[in-house]
């Protein structure tokens, strides 16, 4: 056992793959998700089977998925972005306004504007955090107020209704390709791209290095400022995209759009195994965490628990995930120390 601990590459590849899979947080959370879906389907078959259930299962989490992916990129660098919910609300309203004020605007352009606008809001966060050298928690708490204030002030008592939006745009929320909703497909493509980048690209690995030890990363010669700046821009852009999704999915944008979502995005990441102090975790985990959170919301009433309890369950899950991480890492550390003492 000790040999594989110090020199993991000495083990046969199949065994190595198996141990990695067994230890993987992503798979553990996925099993919980699958069990939950199975349980809910047994109770009420319309949860999964049938076009509505299947579509809801896939399309509702896609908004939180985008937020969780962006949040993961930021958390991995040992920062946090609390303003994503406000960014989402502001962009969702902007989307509605674009359709109202510029009838006939092409839909792909709206998606691009959403991305760009969200990226701009992320840039503000990024500039303040990266160049101001101040904690992201405080800055993004401030921009949470500012963005939401701008959103509410701009919207006033006005709200975007489904009748204001073009039918083609609203159909995006229901349209399916090979039974998979279009919005989910887009979200999954984004997930795959960001996941691939974080896993293989130099820039992605540098984000992990920065999160593991910012000082060491700086001494090593990494451009910490630039990387953190881009992490915030990406997070903002994805929140902007999620805002466009929100408008397409729900067809209406009220002043409550995106409220509380920032904490859910952090929660999804933490449940998916992203360490809040950076350097650890994958977007795959965060994505499964997002699916789990949204699915719990839908599954609880079917399992006979009033959905008022949803937040309590989510809270319990977050604490459970953090405690589990702690126990596992303490055990790993102890084993490594023992192995070092023996060798």
């Amino acid at each position: 056992v000790t040999d594989t601990l110090i020199k993991p590459s000495s083990a046969p590849p199949l065994q190595r793959a198996l141990t990695t899979a067994l230890r993987s947080r992503e798979i553990a959370v996925f099993i919980v998700l699958a069990a939950l879906i199975a349980l809910a389907t047994v109770k009420s078959s319309s949860f999964l089977i049938g076009s509505d259930g299947w579509r809801n299962l896939l399309v509702t989490p896609s908004i939180l998925l985008l937020l969780a992916v962006g949040q993961t990129v930021v958390i991995v660098t040992r920062n946090v972005d609390l303003s994503v919910g406000s960014t989402l609300g502001l962009t969702a309203y902007l989307t509605g306004r674009l359709f109202v004020d510029q009838p006939g605007i092409p839909i792909p352009l709206v998606f691009l504007i959403g991305l760009a606008f969200g990226g701009l809001l992320g840039l503000v966060n990024g500039v303040l955090v990266a160049f101001g050298k101040v904690p992201a928690l405080v800055i993004t708490l401030g921009t949470l107020y500012i963005y939401r204030g701008i959103f509410l002030e701009w919207a006033g008592s006005d709200r975007i209704n489904a009748s204001d939006l073009p039918a083609d745009f609203l159909r995006l929320g229901n349209q399916q390709i090979l039974t998979i909703p279009v919005l989910t497909l887009i979200a999954l493509v984004v997930l795959a791209a960001v996941g691939y980048y974080l896993h293989t690209a130099r820039g992605g690995r540098e984000l992990y290095a920065i999160g593991s030890d910012p000082d060491a990363a700086k001494l090593y010669g990494l451009n910490v400022t630039k990387r953190v700046l881009w992490a915030f821009i990406l997070c903002g852009a994805l929140a902007g995209l999620a805002g466009v999704f929100f408008a397409a999915r729900y067809g209406s944008v009220s002043s409550n759009a995106g409220r509380n979502l920032e904490l859910e995005a952090v929660a999804a990441a933490v449940i998916g195994g992203v360490a809040i102090f950076g350097g650890v975790g994958t977007v795959w985990g965060a994505a499964i965490g997002a699916f789990l959170l949204v699915t719990i919301d839908r599954a609880l009433p079917i399992l006979g628990i009033p959905d008022f309890w949803q937040r309590a369950v989510v809270g319990g899950l977050i604490i459970g995930a953090v405690v589990l991480d702690r126990v596992l890492s303490a055990r790993q550390e102890r084993k490594l120390i023992e192995a070092r003492a023996e060798s």
């Binding site: 303040l128 405080v138 204030g149």
Partner: protein, 365 residues
């Protein structure tokens, strides 16, 4: 959430800083800047905002800000140790619901119900404190979890219904004035008592010195004999207890116990504390700055409300102030590094020897 900050947290404690006269050292602090800003805004509002000097303004300002003023006290200590508690508003909601259930459904007398509700809040704080101090989990993650958990319990227990049949005697007490006709409500009495307690605790006791030491370097604090775990544990318990008290006040003031009472208050409390000059990295901050910070938010919002500015603009201003207050520190140090760098370069070009001298005088960090 970042590390290279110790030098900034202790910047007032260098030899260079102590070479200034005492009066300058007192005036050139974040706390004094907030107090000055508060006075400026207050005087301006008194002179220019219609009805601001009326008897009701201050009364409602205190009534509205009381929960935030109360919770900001233990929150200050928690943030000075470098931790954070995001669950305070959820504790308020949970105690509000507990009070309603214990009083209206279980039929307990109000003081007993209130005490039990406070016990629930203390238990919530102890749960946070145990996980943070003894299990060693990051407080940000733990309290995001308990934010959802406690709020979920509150919403789960009551659903969407509200308990409103509280006796007039108690709901009036929450709104009563200390002296009839004056603008100071009764809630200021427990607030002042708590301010005295927390000021003694933070600024005049070994416990308080321990709080600062933990924030600067908890490893070093442990070596100097501070019981780091116990200190953090007690701070979270205090936050739970005070939040519970604020939750009871909130319930009685609005006469209704609901699961979603006081939602999002945690962000306001933290904004007020940080505005008051407490460093989010820990190790720096003082209570008088925090109280000025809370009052600044209160005065700004009531002045802007009287000017018919919407609450959205008020929120934008508060958010902007929060960002400015943290940015200003690094902006000022950037400026001073720039100017001192220029001075040093100028010296270096005139006489290289002298510049070596001044370089040696620089306190090493």
């Amino acid at each position: 959430m970042s590390t290279p900050t110790i030098d900034r947290a202790v910047d007032g404690r260098t030899y260079a800083a102590y070479s200034r006269p005492l009066i300058w050292r007192l005036v050139l602090t974040r706390e004094f800047a907030v107090i000055a800003l508060l006075l400026v805004v207050f005087v301006y509002a008194n002179g220019n905002v219609p009805n601001f000097d009326g008897p009701l303004t201050l009364y409602y300002l205190f009534l509205d800000m009381a929960p935030i003023m109360l919770i900001a006290l233990p929150m200050t200590l928690i943030i000075i140790t470098g931790e954070i508690d995001l669950s305070v508003a959820s504790v308020m909601g949970l105690t509000s619901v507990m009070l309603g259930i214990l009083y209206a459904d279980a039929g307990l007398p109000m003081p007993v119900a209130a005490l039990l509700a406070i016990a629930v809040g203390v238990a919530c704080g102890a749960f946070n404190g145990f996980l943070v101090a003894y299990v060693g989990l990051p407080s940000l993650a733990v309290t995001i979890g308990t934010l959802a958990l406690f709020r979920g319990l509150a919403v789960g227990l009551l659903g969407t219904e509200a308990i409103t049949d509280f006796p007039q005697k108690w709901t009036d007490l929450a709104k009563e004035r200390i002296v009839e006709g004056e603008s100071y409500p009764m809630i200021l009495i427990p607030f002042v008592v708590l301010v005295v307690i927390f000021a003694l605790l933070l600024h005049f006791s070994t416990f308080g010195r321990g709080v600062y030491e933990i924030g600067l370097n908890d490893e070093a604090a442990r070596f100097t004999g501070v019981n780091v775990e116990l200190t953090k544990f007690w701070l979270f318990v205090m936050a739970g207890g005070v939040s519970a008290f604020a939750g009871i006040y909130y319930t009685l003031r609005y006469g209704s116990a609901r699961g979603d009472n006081a939602e999002f208050y945690e962000l306001q409390v933290i904004a007020a504390v940080l505005l008051g000059g407490v460093s989010i990295f820990g190790g720096r901050g003082a209570l008088h700055g925090v109280i000025a910070g809370v009052l600044l938010i209160g005065v700004l919002s009531s002045a802007m409300r009287l000017e018919n500015v919407s609450t959205n603009i008020t929120n934008i201003v508060i958010g902007g102030l929060l960002v400015l207050s943290v940015i200003s520190t690094s902006f000022l140090s950037w400026i001073s590094a720039l100017t001192s760098g220029r001075a040093r370069r100028a010296e270096a070009s005139s006489s290289p020897q002298q510049s070596d001298q001044s370089g040696a005088d620089q306190p090493s960090r």
